[in-house]
Subunit: 328 residues, 2 copies
Amino acid sequence: MDDVADRAGVSQMTVSRVMSGKGYISSKVRDQVHAAAAEIGYVQNRLARGLRSEQSSLIAVVLPTLGNTVFTEVLRGITDALSAQSLRPVFGLTEYSEDREYELVRDLLSWRPAGIVLAGLEHSDQTRRAIDASGVRVAEVMDIDGEPISTAFGLSQKAAGQVTAQHMLDKGHRRFVYAGSQSGADLRAGKRLEGFRQTVREAGGTIVSEIISSQPSSMVEGRRITAEILSGGDRPDAIYYSNDDLAAGGIMHCLAEGVRIPGDIAMAGFNGLPYLDALPIQLTTIQTPRYDIGFQAGKLLAMQGEDRSSTASQLVDLGFELSVGRTC
Amino acid sequence: MDDVADRAGVSQMTVSRVMSGKGYISSKVRDQVHAAAAEIGYVQNRLARGLRSEQSSLIAVVLPTLGNTVFTEVLRGITDALSAQSLRPVFGLTEYSEDREYELVRDLLSWRPAGIVLAGLEHSDQTRRAIDASGVRVAEVMDIDGEPISTAFGLSQKAAGQVTAQHMLDKGHRRFVYAGSQSGADLRAGKRLEGFRQTVREAGGTIVSEIISSQPSSMVEGRRITAEILSGGDRPDAIYYSNDDLAAGGIMHCLAEGVRIPGDIAMAGFNGLPYLDALPIQLTTIQTPRYDIGFQAGKLLAMQGEDRSSTASQLVDLGFELSVGRTC
DNA sequence: CTGAAAGCGCTAACAT
DNA sequence: ATGTTAGCGCTTTCAG
């Protein structure tokens, strides 16, 4: 900055004001400074800026995985919301481990981020304490069934499970199998299953079995699980998959093996991923506002305490929609 | 750090040494310091550390999009490679725009990252100058057909196009349609097409038409394009898709409409995405080492100039493999 | 509208 | 093996 100041014939402080766009500067001086900066290829040092102003324009993002389209869309939403304010996401992946989440939160906090995004509402006490002590603003995403740290954007996972169950029951199905993945580490999927179970039970239906693979969810794994289910002696009426990727794998299995959907077996998924529209059979699923969840979380953290009026903890329900296809 | 030092009864510099793990510290003092830090919940300030040491443990990552699985896998590879050294990725998305890439590079450079990852080898002069001036280490990913800034990890996109063409020609196909997306903004896809064209031409085949959608690539878009191609009067022998998502859409169209593959129409894609294994018909495609590309790029940037011996610009060919399915 | 002085929290360099 | 001193590049604060 000193070099730029010399070139522009002003003080270093004036350069600082021009760069940060704060304070009153005559347009003549501003132009001189910009010209000088361009000539020598000056690039701000945000480490210094952040150190002095006790505020870095970084947003910490801690997500379970990038292997699930859901989180890449959330991340896109966050990134888009931030880019207007030239805030940047720094991120880490937990692979659904609470311990790993804590490590990442600790580490990311050392960057003095302007905010932090976390997936879900369940975090270890350590994690909560570290965040509390740091005073960063937090946005939790995807889930609203529980107590948020401050603000959570998402949908009721439990209600999604209930709505799906009700629809399947209405279609006359009574004997279900649940197909999940990740060894049940995905807590949101667990809540959906809980809602599903409850509604099925109340209607007198049965969940014949719950098959939970140890693998990450994928179409291939969905196809494998489905083959396993259908090869068993006791075929259920319908399969409730923990998400669309697994369900799409189920559709593929049936397409390949000539199993009729929903005649031989009915199916439902969760998420409403775009590619479902390309499949030969439309999957019945729950459409979730993933991008919007990310975008709104990003926007909240982006507005610098301007509107910090609502300090109280809040649950922002962005809703979901049952998308009825031809699989049940 | 002063507070920790007081508690531990040592100087602040000793705390610094313990925290950064540099220099000789008696294990007794180390334990005292760690205990004191834990008691008051001390969290390092990396902004200060970075400012002083002229080196932040951030790696800038600039990718075109997260809408393409390819880049999420590259990003996973990068993230995994970095996490061992507790380096964190800060990132931005260009949406395939060179101008946006420049803006992002400028902005990310202000964090004084230890390294930067860029997609492809084509960058504006401005971008190259900014990077040059900053002196950061660079890793370019995915492409090796061209002149890298310093080191590029990837595969020959052109060769991939040639290999695909040769295989399709060997299978007896002569009249092709190329199906692409993004209005051709994806330069790697362009290089594949170039290789494809060349091999087809040399063998006396014909590319009947090149259909390039303005949409981002997706299965839905692939299905739409395929419907369009097959409804035309002049049906080609085969379609070469710029990637697997489009090709999978093509398969879906044929499955839904009863078009026989490869009897009525043959197909090939690019990438070798995992979900292809779940489809009823195995797509012929090119398997690319996306995760590994990201991982190696991350590793290079992670090793702090330890092995900066090879300053010369380098192309690291991580290869690809033709994966022969049942679509051609 | 512009400038001077001080200091954010660390680590490099030099002492001991 | 530990301590002292100085200063990284910026912004806050106070003065004009």
